[in-house]
Amino acid sequence: MNEADYKELKKGGMMRQVEVGLFSVRLHVVGGRLSTPQLRAIREAADRFGRGEIHLTSRQGVEIPHVPQDALAALKELLAPSGVGVGVCGPTVRTVTACQGCRVCPSGVIDSPELACAVDRELYGKPVPHKFKVGISGCVNNCMKAEENDAGIKGWIEPRWEGSACAFCGICQAVCPTKAISTSGDGKALTIDETLCIGCGDCIASCPTGSMREKIRGYRVFAGGKFGRRPSLGRRILGVLQTKEEVMAAIVAVLGFFREHGKPRERFGDTLQRTGFPALETFVKERTGLQ
């Protein structure tokens, strides 16, 4: 087999192993969720075509290693009825990771698995200058490490202060982990520094009088994160978004920017180092009308 053929196989999620003729087959998993019939089909495939071994990847993926090249087609065929497809590799939009979200986790602010499925449907496997990873955390506890992804999303609670009932007890200021809340000079108003606020909602949860309230229970988008050899953290773009549709529009626009400005084999974070984050923000705002 020549290199071009290997490249094609790799794009389709079949990764060449050290041992000649064997492949590790990456499966298409969204948000780390598999049904038990799917798991049975994966077990069957690993038993029949591999060595009865399954590898869990660092990003909620599943791979079946030790599959001979001539068994790849049969393995795909065996998995297909359960709805498990093969994954992707190479310069594409990769596995979308997600936590369990607000339907399961008491800390959850957004339905991260549902959003992961929407992102996956729209973007999974699409060609981009270099691999592009999307990770979705249901809240700012950030189990899915949004800032490690090329595009990361976090559930976010933006607070607002309603002065009429406030007793100025100081609790919101004491619990705020970033000291984003301050009292005005005359002591009659509280201000929230939006640049410091991390959207945890602790001020709202602990306010005895209900003066700290939810302004938006929504989403924050981060861009340009990566790990690998030279890790860098993604940075937040746009304000707090209110709907799943807005988030989708933002991510599609972010990818559009990467396609226009990214060089082949250049990670998105490196593209942003060249262009600067403001260029991305301007582009996304123009494309989506979001602020």
């Binding site: 007793a167 007890c169 609790i171």
Partner: protein, 78 residues
């Protein structure tokens, strides 16, 4: 009758709220319990109190120590 005082400055979550819950068991509905606690216990204790329907009616502080006056809900059976 003096208002009962519960000091949980030496406790950590979840014992902080467990002790507040036990303290409130000894208070009649609409009665008050004063809870003395550290800053780091504020969020969990207050949010749990609110979830259970109790009210924090007054707050004072001694440096980093807070004193909460907690009014027991009428709905509480225990």
């Amino acid at each position: 009758m003096t208002t009962p005082l519960l000091d949980i400055t030496g406790d950590v979550c979840p014992m902080t709220f467990v002790k507040v819950k036990m303290g409130l068991q000894r208070v009649l509905p609409l009665g008050t319990l004063i809870v003395r606690l550290k800053e780091e216990a504020l969020k969990n204790v207050i949010s749990s109190l609110k979830t259970e329907g109790h009210r924090v009616t007054n707050v004072s502080r001694e440096g980093t120590i807070f004193l909460l006056e907690v009014e027991k809900t009428t709905g509480a059976t225990k």
